[in-house]
Amino acid sequence: MRKLFKRVFERIIEGLLTLSGGITSFAILLIVIFLFKEGAGLFQSPDVEKGYVLAVNATNPVEHLDAKQIKEIFDYEFTDWQSVGGKDEEIKPFRFDEIFSLYSEEEFGEDYALLPEKLGETIAQNSGIIAFIPEMYAPKDNISVKILPAKNILFSEFFTGKEWMPTATPSPQFGVFPLILGTLWVSIAAILIALPLGLGVAIYMSELAGERTRKLLKPTIELLAGIPSVVYGFFGLVVLVPMIQKTLNLSVGETALAGSIILAIMALPTIITIAEDSMRNTPLSMREASLALGATDWQTIYRVIVPYAASGITAAVVLGVGRAIGETMAVLMVTGNAAIIPHSLFESVRTIPATIAAELGEAPTGGVHYQALFMLGCILFIITMIISILSEFISRKQQNKGL
């Protein structure tokens, strides 16, 4: 009896162990489901602010406007209906609150019952008008008013749009292009700084340093990886940013360059550790063969060891890029966060993670802005997944390189 009980107990524990073996896969599954569930909602949301509609005069031939056009109209960039495919007529943008300057309070009647009627009147009188009004006050059954049909935010608009203005009215602009570009600029510049530095240290650690130096150097590098990113950001903010501003004579020091330098420091441990590991794995026979042919140590390093470790070094770079792309707090604190398409490293940029961190607090849960930020999270997730699998693939190639 006791023996049976014991065996059942063991089976249960082993079952639990098996279950927990799947925990990471389960977690990733959950992350995918929840990120994409919230993010995908973006493309089922109207491109005009929720609860509002756009109304035009019925004689206006324009049937629909996209988010970009609506924004340009209300920014007075487009002033003629011709530019959006209509008649040659002046556009008169009309915001809801303007109605209160056209009529007196009494004219709206009790509980604003006559408000839709007055709106209808205004729209009917102006052939070039485009009115941005709440759906509940939209004039119904008025033949001289045409409500523009709401359109969903388009996938293509999201990825190619060049403006990120999530709180613009009447039509928020969700163009991630500048954010993607900002992320790439900062990350690639960071790797360009970190790679020579990291490779140099890796070579020093694996080939030149004595055992004692190595034992001191390794924990030091690990420590560099352990410093919280918010501390890096703080250091960048109080030391690096003023320094860049002064030496380069810029009006603001919060630039892509500051972000890249901080990210380079943060990516160093990843690059050094992986590159060093793969160099140390070079078989002794290969080193000896090279030395026996009369090559110097240095010739052996750059003709034999570095080429041998090439895929390990590539994996290191790829992982370093991955780390840089996802880094949030440090970048948020030093890059200035202007959502514009960057032209040089000396301008303020905004990256995808920084955008999420900076804006999610203000975005109402479940709203379009919230969904757009989750969509950004999806993009980040996909990029890092690709990078992670890619580096896995590359380092497996290294392992297969047997002799």
Partner: protein
């Protein structure tokens, strides 16, 4: 140019590069220690912020971070160790274990801000935990899971197979062998992973931004459903917000120093432990 001279130049360059990297680390550490050491006092560590965060201490943030560390470790450590045991002792060498390993790596490479988004969507909104210690602990727990799994796996892998076969030969079952032989021997190395996770959790900001962190909350939490302040978020807030920079900067330096000290302490003790027990296992 002579090949010996070339070698000399190249090696000098590598030495200088290494010195630069070490120099950067000491620059950052030195700068924060130098600026922060004058700020830290018993009063700074044990009082709440006052005067709209321009005065007082960081006590609630320290308590908050401790809560998050405890919460996430309690949630992630047991399951992470179990997962590590499964991968190394049970799963064998087939496609399944490869898949699990890839998934663990993938989870570890997901940016922390994505964990924040996920935590907000699942724990805060779907489970209706609200901004709370428990939502934050779950989120941070997921974040450190890969680290714990990997260190457990490595620790178990380091145990020579002869110990296992010896135990089997004495009639022990597989589970008995794991509980009585393998796990106790691997334990010090597993604890290293635990310590490193503590360091990681105390420093993470992005995952707690939307799941637990409070901007300003002088009172201490009463239950796991309360919001708390946390050290890294506090540092972010006082470093970037506020107009009275002269009053807030010292507090920021102090907070950064406390954070760095926690991380330093965790890293050093992990290293000491690793070195001490690393030798012990070998000479057994």
């Amino acid at each position: 140019m002579n090949k010996k001279t070339k070698q000399k130049i190249a090696f000098t360059v590598f030495r200088i590069l290494s010195l630069i990297v070490v120099g950067i680390l000491f620059w950052i550490l030195g700068f924060i220690i130098y600026r922060g050491i004058g700020v830290i006092s018993w009063k700074f560590l044990t009082t709440a912020p006052t005067d709209g965060m321009t005065g007082g201490g960081i006590f609630p943030a320290i308590v908050g971070t401790l809560c998050l560390v405890a919460g996430s470790i309690v949630l992630a450590f047991p399951i992470g160790v179990m997962s590590g045991i499964y991968i190394n002792e049970y799963a064998g060498n087939g496609w399944l274990v490869k898949f699990i390993r890839i998934m663990t790596n993938n989870l570890g490479s997901i940016p922390s801000v994505v964990f924040g988004l996920f935590g907000m969507s699942l724990f805060v909104n779907t489970f209706k935990f609200g901004d709370s210690i428990i939502a934050g602990s779950f989120t941070l727990g997921l974040l450190i899971l890969p680290l714990i799994i990997r260190t457990t796996e490595e620790a178990l892998k380091a145990i020579p197979d002869s110990y296992r076969t010896g135990s089997y030969a004495l009639g022990a079952t597989k589970l008995q062998t794991i509980i009585r032989v393998t796990l106790p021997m691997a334990f010090p190395n597993i604890v290293t992973g635990l310590i490193l996770s503590i360091g990681r959790v105390s420093g993470e900001t992005a995952p707690i931004l939307f799941t637990v962190a409070a901007y300003f909350l002088p009172k201490l939490p009463h239950s796991i459903f309360d919001q708390v302040m946390a050290l890294p978020y506090h540092l972010y807030v006082i470093a970037t917000g506020g107009t009275d920079i002269e009053a807030t900067r010292p507090i920021a330096y102090g907070t950064a120093l406390v954070l760095i000290l926690i991380v330093l302490l965790m890293n050093i003790s992990a290293n000491v432990l690793r070195r001490y027990f690393g030798k012990k296992v070998k000479t057994h």
